[in-house]
Symmetry: C2
Subunit: 393 residues, 2 copies
């Protein structure tokens, strides 16, 4: 096991009705709250017979807090929203940036909280993947409405700049929310497509940390298999019965743990090639992140599988899919099972199904590998990425 420091001080308030604690928790950070949210789902009537917007507002107002708002955050959040939010923070002396939504909204809130306290252009930090210039960041909190990215308990933020076809992630412990409210009931209204892509995203986060060429990280791998089994068990139930609380609760808590540092600690290097390839798809075509991941993952698996790293696929096949047979059969079978499962969730298997043709494959392969080869299971150079994208076509 590799050396590591582990420190995750985000407070999680999990369960039905936890919104009631919002005002009390938020008031620990100051008076002025910026509510950052998306394109309207928080105004819809929810299972509490009101809207999340209304519930949040009531709890904050009861605690005597002043609310400012930044609506209309995009699914792949834009740098323009970040600048707008940061200006609001400065003009209104914001004390806490409260994201209400899924990973995109939370990621955007993090960038806003960073830009608000930073004189320079935060996009340059994203471009250089260097958070060090961000010496101070406003406190961030979240109310989660989609189970997928884990942004509610980690320090990651992915921002898109469509003007230059770039979608880049930045990671710093300063971006970790001070608290997050996780009420699975808020995900009852997440539609089939978003639920399915969220589940793929959770599994992909695990894959990126599970599929490493080393033989270490036993504890991490065995517990990650537990998270995979959970998603495989509950994703179909959530699609079939969108208001099944137990399914939504397990998926939500699984999504948080799939990417909050826990599993990565002690395991180095992790992979992340699939995510980096998918970022190019989203940057060029603005497609749903989980859909892109679902298309690419099994092709990536096929491409990187080798005699040296087969042991990891064998573990995956045996423990998660209960496959038996020769090691070769189990490894191949585990990839097949992964594709079948994604298909059963309604995830396309080819880029063409989401409107992506040959036109930008080379440009995307080039951009994906601009800062060097991707991945750890197998180092992927420009030609490798292009080969995988062509397989996926």
């Amino acid at each position: 096991m590799e050396n590591f420091n582990y420190y995750i001080p985000t407070k999680i308030l999990f369960g039905k009705g936890k919104i009631k604690s919002l005002g009390k928790e938020a008031s620990k950070y100051g008076k002025n709250i910026l509510m950052v949210y998306g394109k309207g789902s928080i105004f819809k009537e929810n299972c509490y017979g009101t809207s999340l917007y209304q519930q949040a507002k009531e709890s904050l107002e009861e605690a005597g807090l002043t609310i400012f708002e930044l609506p209309d955050i995009d699914p792949n959040p834009r740098i323009e929203s970040v600048y707008e939010g940061a200006k609001l923070c400065r003009d209104c002396k914001i004390d806490l940036v409260l994201a209400i939504g899924g990973g995109s909204t939370i990621d955007c809130a993090k960038a806003i909280a960073g830009q608000a306290k930073y004189e320079g252009d935060i996009w340059k930090c994203y471009e250089s993947k260097d958070p060090r210039p961000l010496q101070e960041v406003l406190p961030i909190a979240s109310i989660l409405t989609v189970s997928a990215t884990g942004s509610e308990m980690n320090g990651n933020s992915v921002i898109s700049n469509l003007s230059c076809h770039k979608k880049i992630g930045l990671s710093t412990s300063k971006f970790r929310p001070v608290f997050s409210i996780l009420d699975p009931s808020y995900t009852f209204t997440v539609n089939r497509k978003q639920t399915a892509s969220g589940c793929v995203d959770i599994m992909s986060h695990i894959f990126e940390q599970y599929f490493t060429p080393d033989h270490g990280g036993y504890l991490q791998n065995r517990t990650m298999e537990g998270v995979l089994k959970t998603v495989i068990h509950y994703a179909p139930i959530a699609l079939e019965h969108p208001d099944n609380y137990e399914a939504r609760a397990n998926l939500m808590w699984a999504s948080t743990w799939a990417l909050n540092d826990m599993f990565e600690k002690g395991k180095i290097p992790t992979d992340w090639a699939t995510h980096q390839m998918e970022h190019e798809l989203s940057a060029f075509y603005d497609i749903t992140h989980g859909i892109g991941l679902g298309i690419l993952t099994p092709y990536w698996m096929k491409y990187v599988l080798s005699e040296e790293n087969r042991h990891r696929f064998v573990d995956y096949g045996r423990e998660v899919w209960k496959l038996t047979g020769s090691e070769e059969e189990i490894a191949e079978g585990s990839i097949q099972k992964t594709r079948e499962f994604f298909t059963s969730l309604g995830i396309p298997a080819r880029l063409q199904e989401v409107g992506i043709g040959e036109e930008n494959l080379e440009a995307m392969a080039k951009q994906a590998t601009q800062q060097g080869p991707l991945g750890a299971m197998k180092e992927l150079y420009e030609e490798d990425v292009l080969a995988i994208l062509k397989m996926a076509l």
Copy 2:
């Protein structure tokens, strides 16, 4: 899944040579450090060619800190040591109580940190299991030398009062260490018996949270199975090769997670009957905690297994032991496997093997159930506890 709040702000410094960060971390809390440790193992030469005592002292002194010492903490730490340590804290204006040792030493440091800031008698808090009178507690840190109790990242403390044959646990978030140094190399010198009982303790902590009669907690159960698999995989390796770093590292990180609130959150009620019964064995006979747990656990499993809760044993047998067959066979087989595994580690199977006869069984059963029945899988009254103790004789 049940509602919960999750907040574990303990910072973990994990791996080889992490002791070098001790001084810097400790200095965040003040100048005066009380080092609390056991009966001499920290003075033995370790794999760094020096002693842990020397390493700790050097790092603290380099940071300009003043060291005070409380040696000779017992394996089942006594309330007398707590009073002595608390007096030292007051007399020397201690800023941080630093435990160096296993769970007993850390548990004792927690009680010292509590008593130091409390005018009343902290034993009364243990007796009433009510931490609320402890409004303030000195900061606690630890350097772990035995993988077992999880005390390094949780708020639990168990203290013994031999004058009244009582061993009682108290739990409060105020007892959670501010930081813990986990260097698996420090456990290379833990002997066979202590290594084996530590492994049983880790597994027992998982059992207490895994064996619940409910059908929920899927994610928690699947990830707990991962921890059990890890201990089953690495315990024999650590016994065979005491300086196998990977084995010691996995066992150490597993011990921390097995009891730091993570798995319990969302699962209510957890069981803890076996631990409460074992506390009576230790209180009456001062035996090693893990040995007592190892003897009792399979008898407890046999006693509580019923048609209603069989599903949990079936999960356990299938996922952890890869058993096949009818549900009855898998459930029975999983108990058999547990006993065989404990025996393979050198853990006795009967109370008589550790010098416990019939003489106090009734008194122990009575005391164990003094505050009501034990357990959740099956409510255990005085006569049930007595029946289990007799099975174990």
